[in-house]
């Protein structure tokens, strides 16, 4: 007779288990929603000490580093686009990641960009970015990319051109360093901030980026640089137009029609530039291109 | 006679008991014993008497608190002694993931036989214990009787001269017990020494040249089963049936017991013929007449009763 009760309990299980799982799953989503609203108010990293975690990992620290790296990427990826987001945990997460595995280059490169980028793209903490990359330079001394990233930080965010140039020079001395590092070092020493230098640096960051977010960010910067350069050029043409016609042009079409330009001036996204009421060239607000960090309009 | 097969001298084992291991319990007290080559020797006693302890001491599974022992002239300390002995522990358990053949083969490997000889021995001894068909069955599927037989096989697969068996008959059905008895007799016929412990006295009486009786860790007596108990007849046992319509003679009414259709009565030897006469007069049918002798069991029960009454009996020696 145990055969009968066995069949009955199997049937009960086949019925009840999926139902219960569904109930549990929907309950879990409720719980997650609940904790998310709480978490949004105050995000917590329970253990912030990298060295402590390294000890606790009992020798599996590089695996734990990979886990924290994944968390860092997810943290950034899910929060980008949230208004007012300051990415406060990005530094602790990357700090832990690089303490657990000091040779995880990709974490340093990620931090170099997104710790230093202004809100809303990053955490707006170039000082922390510098600290992170300096650690990377110490941990991976033979790789030119770490010094190169450090040089970038000095040049782009800290505007310390002397330091930037010196750092790029150091980078150029590392094994397998590409030639352009020396060129950049010289350019920065000579001219400080310039379009061509910036473009070269961002192009290199774009080319060597392994992380899609970093690549995308570099691309946006290149677009921004291009737009700024275009706008400077357009202002000059607008001035010529004014000399000829007594007023600033209202659209780039007018510039084209006047023969001063051989085509309709478009921004890197393909959308035509517009002119503001003061006659200054601008990006169309509808354009996806953003000028994030206007360069000082230094001569040439 | 030559060297005795087994020589035990003053063998003593104390265990520390209690939570703090302060108290000492003496489970074997000063055992001195000799077993000759070719003897079938029974080691008797109730549970807890120290029989298993003695065997474990001989096997060096536990170490003596005092005393020595030698088997075939070699001290029990000497690992080479184990080449010449076989051992079957009480209620044995074997690696249940192995088949019978694999088990025997495993144990045989400890003796360094070349491959062909080892294989041959395994087959031979499987047959010897009647397990030729079950050789490739996993031991976890074996019945108790089959396990016991495998146990004996592993104890003799290397043709040892002295075989130690701890309660070899326990838990077996009558068929199993018969088989084990036959194996022991066979070993004896081959001139080997068999030392086995048991609390089944009828087996001991039937198989053993000599027995030793152990009680409370102390040796109570050693000798041939007949020496330990006198061979004196102390009465006669009668079995008879009454014919329908006849009544039991009044003289016997008090002492006769009815078992089914039969009656049993014990009478002193001198009264045998008068009682037979009485039964003949009422036309009872006589089924059997047999003499009664004291058995090892009686001796045993007397010993146990005496021990209960006075837990520290003085002296040892036969009877």
């Amino acid at each position: 007779m145990s055969g009968q009760s066995h069949t009955r309990s199997v049937r009960l299980a086949l019925l009840a288990v999926p139902v219960l799982f569904l109930a549990i799953a929907s309950l879990q989503t409720r719980i997650d929603a609940q904790t998310r609203t709480i978490a949004q108010q105050k995000e917590e990293l329970l253990l912030r000490s990298g060295p402590l975690l390294k000890k606790l990992s009992l020798g599996y620290d590089s695996l734990l580093a990979d886990i924290y790296w994944t968390r860092s990427v997810q943290y950034y990826g899910t929060r980008i686009g949230s208004p007012g987001e300051k990415f406060e945990l990005l530094w602790p997460l990357l700090d832990i990641t690089t303490t657990l595995d000091p040779k995880l280059m990709i974490a340093y490169r990620f931090g170099a960009i997104f710790l230093s980028e202004p809100i809303p793209t990053g955490a707006d903490r170039p000082d922390l970015a510098v600290e992170l990359v300096k650690r990377g330079v110490a941990a991976i001394p033979d790789d030119w990319r770490m010094e190169s990233d450090l040089g970038f930080l000095y040049y782009w965010h800290l505007k310390d051109y002397a330091q930037a140039s010196a750092t790029y020079l150091d980078a150029s001395k590392k094994p397998d360093a590409p030639l352009w590092l020396k060129i950049i070092a010289a350019q920065v020493a000579a001219k400080g901030d310039s379009f061509s230098t910036s473009r070269a640096i961002w192009t290199e960051l774009f080319d060597t980026a392994q992380n899609p977010a970093v690549k995308k960010n570099a691309f946006q910067h290149l677009q921004s640089l291009q737009a700024q350069q275009d706008i400077l050029e357009l202002d000059k043409y607008a001035g010529d137009y004014r000399k000829r016609y007594g007023r600033y042009p209202e659209t780039v079409k007018e510039l084209y029609q006047s023969g001063l330009l051989s085509g309709i001036a478009r921004d890197p996204a393909g959308i035509p530039y517009i002119f503001g009421p003061d006659g200054k060239a601008q990006l169309d607000p509808k354009s996806p291109v953003i000028i994030e960090k206007p360069l000082a309009r230094s001569p040439r | 006679m030559g060297t005795p097969a087994i020589e035990i001298e003053g063998l003593t084992k104390d265990y520390a008991v209690g939570f703090w291991r302060k108290r000492m319990r003496r489970s074997l007290d000063n055992l001195t014993l000799q077993v000759e080559e070719g003897e079938a020797f029974g080691f008797l006693g109730p549970n807890g008497a120290g029989k298993t302890t003695t065997l474990k001491l001989l096997m060096s599974l536990v170490f003596p608190s005092a005393g020595t022992a030698r088997v075939r002239g070699r001290s029990i300390d000497d690992v080479r002694m184990h080449r010449e002995i076989g051992y079957l522990p009480e209620q044995p358990y074997f690696y249940d993931y192995l088949t019978a053949r694999e088990l025997l083969d495993y144990y045989a490997r400890f003796f360094g036989y070349p491959l062909a000889e080892r294989r041959q021995r395994v087959t031979r001894f499987l047959e010897r214990v009647g397990l030729a068909d079950a050789g490739d069955v996993q031991l976890r599927k074996f019945s108790k009787g089959m396990l016991q037989r495998v146990g004996i096989a592993q104890a003799i697969v290397h043709d040892p001269q002295v075989i130690f068996l701890d309660e070899p008959m326990s838990g077996l059905d009558p068929v199993g017990r018969r088989e084990v008895r036959d194996i022991i007799l066979d070993l004896k016929r081959q001139g080997r020494t068999v030392f086995f412990s048991t609390h089944i006295l009828s087996d001991a009486e039937m198989l053993c040249d000599r027995v030793a009786v152990l009680l409370g860790g102390k040796l109570q007596g050693v000798g041939a089963p007949g020496e330990i108990v006198s061979m004196e007849v102390y009465g006669m046992e009668l079995f008879f049936e009454m014919r329908p319509g006849f009544l039991l003679p009044t003289a016997l009414a008090g002492s006769a017991t009815k078992i089914g259709e039969r009656y049993r009565v014990e009478v002193p030897e001198v009264q045998l013929y008068p009682v037979l006469e009485q039964l003949r007069n009422c036309q009872a049918r006589i089924l059997s007449v047999a003499p009664l002798r004291p058995t090892l069991e009686d001796y045993f029960l007397k010993l146990v009763a005496r021990d209960k009454a006075d837990p520290h009996p003085a002296g040892e020696g036969a009877r």
Binding site: D61, S62, V73 | -
Partner: protein
């Protein structure tokens, strides 16, 4: 030298196989397959790194669990099941039995580890499409893990000679974790101003089995080469320490009454 330990070892290996211990490999394989497929999506740019980290960590953890849980049962199971009684009635010395048990578990662990390494190699190939020179350091890392497992097995065996499986597990784990932190324990001792404490800390450092010597998972993941001198030093360290532990175990076990 007698062949008795080998006889016991082969049987111990056979027991592990029939106990389906090796089925853990299925779980490992599934995990590596899942990881190889997912790793490209989730951890951008470091797929090779993650596969090696995950694979080596899993080999280490699975191996440790096996070494400890089977190790503490090596002796106690035979005593509990009383199969040891029959065994010791044969011409076997107690130390031969212990060495054989140790050898059998080590053999099981070695086979298990080799099979797992093959799985790891397959996953690595799937992710990188070729083998790099740097992958040799992965093999060294695996070898070091095996040395570690040998030492843990010896410790588990030692404890199982005189304590219950539960206590043996705790002791073995305790010694293992202490062995990982032994440098820190010493450093803390050195921080005190007390010369007696400092001396004690130094002594403790040399006494504890320094498991941190064997950890090269990070280096292997980054493809760094591991110096040859470290390889033979670690081998010698493991061999000596294992010998020490087995001798101690024999000493304890040889005098033990088997109830």
């Amino acid at each position: 030298m007698s062949a008795i330990p080998a006889v016991v070892a082969i049987n111990t290996f056979r027991e592990a196989v029939r106990d389906r211990v090796l089925y853990n490999l299925i779980f490992f394989a599934l995990m590596m397959i899942g990881a190889s497929i997912l790793v490209g999506e989730i951890s951008i740019g470091i797929s090779r790194l993650v596969i090696i980290n995950l694979g080596l960590s899993a080999i280490s953890i699975f191996g440790l669990v096996m070494a400890i849980f089977i190790g503490v049962g090596l002796v106690s199971k035979e005593i509990e099941k009383r199969t040891l009684y029959t065994l010791l009635s044969k011409p076997v010395r107690r130390w031969e039995f212990l060495v054989g048990k140790f050898g059998g578990l080590l053999l099981t662990l070695t086979v298990n580890t080799i099979l797992m390494t093959l799985g790891l190699a397959a996953a690595l190939y799937y992710v990188s499409r070729n083998f790099l020179r740097a992958d040799a350091s992965v093999l060294v890392a695996v070898y070091f893990i095996l040395l570690e497992l040998a030492l843990v097995t010896a410790l588990a065996l030692f404890f199982s000679c005189f304590s219950s499986p539960m206590l043996s597990t705790l002791f073995t784990l305790g010694v293992y974790v202490s062995g990982i932190f032994s440098k820190d324990i010493r450093d803390i001792g050195m921080l005190t101003r007390n010369p007696a404490m400092q001396a004690a800390a130094q002594v403790l450092y040399y006494v504890l089995p320094n498991f941190h010597n064997f950890n090269t998972i990070t280096a292997a993941a980054h493809g760094e080469s591991i110096p040859l001198s470290l390889i033979w030093q670690n081998t010698a360290y493991a061999a000596l320490y294992v010998m020490l532990v087995l001798i101690a175990a024999s000493a304890v076990f040889s005098g033990r009454d088997l109830k």
